[in-house]
Symmetry: C2
Subunit: 708 residues, 2 copies
Amino acid sequence: MIVSALLTSLAINSALCVLFFTLYSVLRKQPSNYDIYAPRLLAEGTSTQRSFNLERLIPSASWIKKAWNLSEEELLSSSGLDAVVFMRLITFSLKIFSFAGIVGIFVLLPVNCLGDQLEDVDFSDLSNNSLDLFTISNVKNGSSRLWIHFSAVYAVTGFVCFLLYYEYEYISSRRIAYFYSSKPQPHQFTILVRSIPISPGSSISESVERFFTEYHPSTYLSHMVVRRTNKIRSLFDKAKKVWGRITQLQSDPSHNKYQRDGCFGLFGHKVDMKLEDIEENVRLEQSGGTSAGEEVRAAFVSFRSRYGAAIASNMQQSVNPTQWVTEQAPEPDDVFWPFFSASFMRRWISKLVVIVACILLTLLFLIPVVFVQGLTNLSQLEVWFPFLESILTMDIVSQVITGYLPSLILLMFLKIVPPVMEFLSSIQGYISHSDIENSACSKVLWFTIWNVFFATVFSGSALYQASIVLEIKSIPSRLAVAVPAQASFFIAYVLTSGWTSTSSELVRIFPLICSLIRRPFTKSTDNELEVPSIPYHNNIPRILLFGLLGITYFFLAPLILPFLLVYLCLQYIVFRNQFINVYAPMYETAGKYWPIVHNGMIFSLVLMHAIAVGIFTLKKRPLLSTFVVPLPVLTLLFNEYCRKRFLPIFIAYSSETLIKKDREDQNDTAMAEFFNKLVTAYQDPAFLPVQFSANTDSLSSPLISSEV
Amino acid sequence: MIVSALLTSLAINSALCVLFFTLYSVLRKQPSNYDIYAPRLLAEGTSTQRSFNLERLIPSASWIKKAWNLSEEELLSSSGLDAVVFMRLITFSLKIFSFAGIVGIFVLLPVNCLGDQLEDVDFSDLSNNSLDLFTISNVKNGSSRLWIHFSAVYAVTGFVCFLLYYEYEYISSRRIAYFYSSKPQPHQFTILVRSIPISPGSSISESVERFFTEYHPSTYLSHMVVRRTNKIRSLFDKAKKVWGRITQLQSDPSHNKYQRDGCFGLFGHKVDMKLEDIEENVRLEQSGGTSAGEEVRAAFVSFRSRYGAAIASNMQQSVNPTQWVTEQAPEPDDVFWPFFSASFMRRWISKLVVIVACILLTLLFLIPVVFVQGLTNLSQLEVWFPFLESILTMDIVSQVITGYLPSLILLMFLKIVPPVMEFLSSIQGYISHSDIENSACSKVLWFTIWNVFFATVFSGSALYQASIVLEIKSIPSRLAVAVPAQASFFIAYVLTSGWTSTSSELVRIFPLICSLIRRPFTKSTDNELEVPSIPYHNNIPRILLFGLLGITYFFLAPLILPFLLVYLCLQYIVFRNQFINVYAPMYETAGKYWPIVHNGMIFSLVLMHAIAVGIFTLKKRPLLSTFVVPLPVLTLLFNEYCRKRFLPIFIAYSSETLIKKDREDQNDTAMAEFFNKLVTAYQDPAFLPVQFSANTDSLSSPLISSEV
């Protein structure tokens, strides 16, 4: 790619960003869009309908100021620790790339430009030069200036590791402080027991009762056996849709409730379908329907203290490790009920199937990526579609195609990956939405790194991705050849994919379109209000991918860094705004996403070191290559230390923490009432009394009990 | 190697075996050798001195009958569960290779012989044929008879996996039964706490007391802070030597005690060195010497119940995971005291150093192996040492050199590895002799597999070991070329190394020589009696290596199997005899060695599958190669299932087990006395009252308290 193509892309994307931001400033002030741009405020009742005035049509930047002024404590109290951790990922990346940016732009970029390895440099007309002029490719082979790059690699690695340690420590302390400051919550006192052995002559409930009164007599409180409720659940879904339709018809504006399910009621239902019929059906199922409410070999067991629950979940309970398998229970709202029909063996097999499916998805996904890579190569496109030759020779078309289109297509394909990965995680055997998203987050991250970074790097030069990992020895040299060659593609990728995704996040294009289509068919818009939760498994891998690009390219092509910094600044403002106006927390993992971030960063560093080893060999400075080798070793040792020092905090709370917290509650008179509620906290929502009213119970699942 | 060379080797080794067995039959009956061949019986007082008669000079086989008749229950009661598990490893291998032997000798061997791939077969004089005649190399390329080999690979894999599952299950149940039947033991009630944080103004002892009374008030019993006692210990060692010398001079035959330390008193000491001086020194150190008895940030903490101890050791205690690090305590006798001077950081670093040292040892060890490989190649030897040509051309010399010498030299080199690995494990931070041996066992196993199997296989054809692992894709094809080429070497290896090691184990050559040298210098032999414990880290890897050879070669060169079966039968008889007469258990891991055996076997299977894939491709049957591929996948899945099903049992006991066992003791009146003893059970032997008498305390360390 030449400089002018980059400038074209920059112009298009900047214009788009400005357009989107302006559009947002106007659209957000229209009352009809409140459910899109401020569903959270609307649900909380803090956003009031304003009368029409001119101000509504003039773009304003007040929201930026508001987002900027949000403090971490405010964010913590309104959106939970996960949101704080997410914002810290962005500020953490900003810190890294500010440092790397200063080093890259003011030290490495001049060194690269002043090199003379590439011969066809035309200083009279910069815009016609290749972008390679600004990369390490332009430094003369064997030049002593490579020492500067070498030092930069060491400095940035040291800085990133320092920040990683500091952040891990900070988030660990926040996590513990969050636990200390939390009110008693059902999931702290409850464990999930699975693979309960069936003893002849007694029900599962009796087995559970007997086992826990026998082995945990002092702390055992109650239990709730899980039942297979797919049939009841489907009846409920029907009822919910009909109820939604009825309330919609009644157009009762006082019914603004949290609702987190899909756009039901969208395409209408037969209203004559009797709600009472369904209610009757559900009651029948609940009372006598043993086939639908069949007991599953799993139960939620509640204890009198957090420490008691932790002991039961940390210790192997039974002689046979595949029986009485325990784990900490998720929050009641967070339970993923459809899962509970699998035994130890079935869960294990479904996990294996999911792993295979992920590998297959990763392999099949290469096909569109290769096609996209073909698009960046104009001459190849002309060979494939000769009839397009006349159009392709036009200057503007060729620049749009090389600078913008390829990464846009890739972006569209990547959009479908997070939902697919989430689905795969959901059948893998996780019991909570948060675990599913956490697992999907890892899956999406490795998928993205493989399919965006490696596939682009290697299919750009040749299609030998599969063989490359099997020959470990030659990886650095192959990376050194292939990675710098794709520098211009990734600079364009940051511009298009990065900037565009931030703008579309702000404008919420998909919900906006959805709402625009829906509006003519529905009479009132604000009673089907849906407060979304932020899809972490979608956003965290994306930011980490840009982090990977920044870390691997900062010494190869420092030109990528300014674009990355702009991207991160946009993200910073946009997500703070979205946390205020749009997203409400659905569950709280208390920072469990951070270890994924940490591992992703360590991987980026080691990959960068591998590339550095290859590059220095390629540039005829084997001494520098040798000196880089200790760096990945030290980085991995650092990672190992962090695993020992911080990771256990993210897996379970310590005895000290739990006992302290338990003692605080000991003299609390409210605890008796809490324990009363705890007994029924993990009741399957399908078995709650059918009540089509609107009272919200803080302990039982608010999702369905309050809606249906 | 040709058939006649193998026959020569067979003759030499059979003769040696018969000789050693006869020698043993005679030597064991000489009273002067009782301390070598029956130290255990002597220590237990069951072996009585017999008067001289002719019978003593006639070889007899009565010991074989006695060893044969030993039942598993007898072995369990006399030598503990570890001995049972060790014997089961041998019977397990016997079962596998009986099955593989039947398949190999009666099915595969005829198929191989009837092939005609090798042209220079001379049926008139079998002894001049190459051993390759009996290997898969002789089967015609593309022959449909390879289906037989293919089926054999599947059948043997299935059989091994079935047996592995059955054995794992059996040993797990034995382990639990052993725990249920055990008397209350100090290590069941005690944990070791390390990295205790230093709080200003209070001693470590006070910190421990405060922490555990705070967080484990109902179960905490007492604690014992570990002290740095290197100086006292060295004084003790001196005292022990002098004491040994004195008792030796007194020639008091009633002083037959267990002694497990080296051959001290061997080369004499100055007897005028006053014992009282040392005693005085020790007393001084114990009372006032704060520098020598400095407190270490570690303590043994005892609890009132096994379950209480297990909770404290399984749960993360402190908010900071690198502080208050807990683990189950070893038996008091088993504690490796010299270690206790390391912090979390130092322990971690020493572990890394040990890993690097192991890798270096593995790499440096290749040099003698390559030299040994040179010896098997006569022509190369003639090139190196031209002056030997006249000797080397002699028939008998050449056969001895090719058939016997190479593996003997390799054997001598391998002898030094287990002690070195044990030393490395001891500085790695383990707190007990059993953990050190267990870790050394794994180290020796992988070392042996790498340096005997892989180094022989690859340096035999070319020196590309290091590069081979880095090119994963080409491993099967390279193995397929190199492994069958070394079949004759490994057949000879089983004969020499296997058979010889068994005989030398029986005759106990090294202790015998040691005793013969020592006898002239000492007047009485039986007061320095030393009952050795079996070095598992030496014997288990050796048997597993032969298992690996058997599994990988059974379908390539089935001729190896009869030799292997003879080896295993010899081992079976010899070790049963040694358990009766020689080895006393020093500690009890209750079968913790089995997971190492299991992993070793799984590795052997997967390696065999890799070779099979390569061989079938080489033999122009790519279809068979493809059909073999599911086999390693299934084997690894099987292994993964076993890890989930059985491994947790070998790591910690379950709540169910612990609570049941605790309840049994609840009404036992002897428990009060036990708890009294428990308080001082983990006293450092260096701090026990200095008493040069002979009463044995079952709870305190019998090693030193009873001797000194």
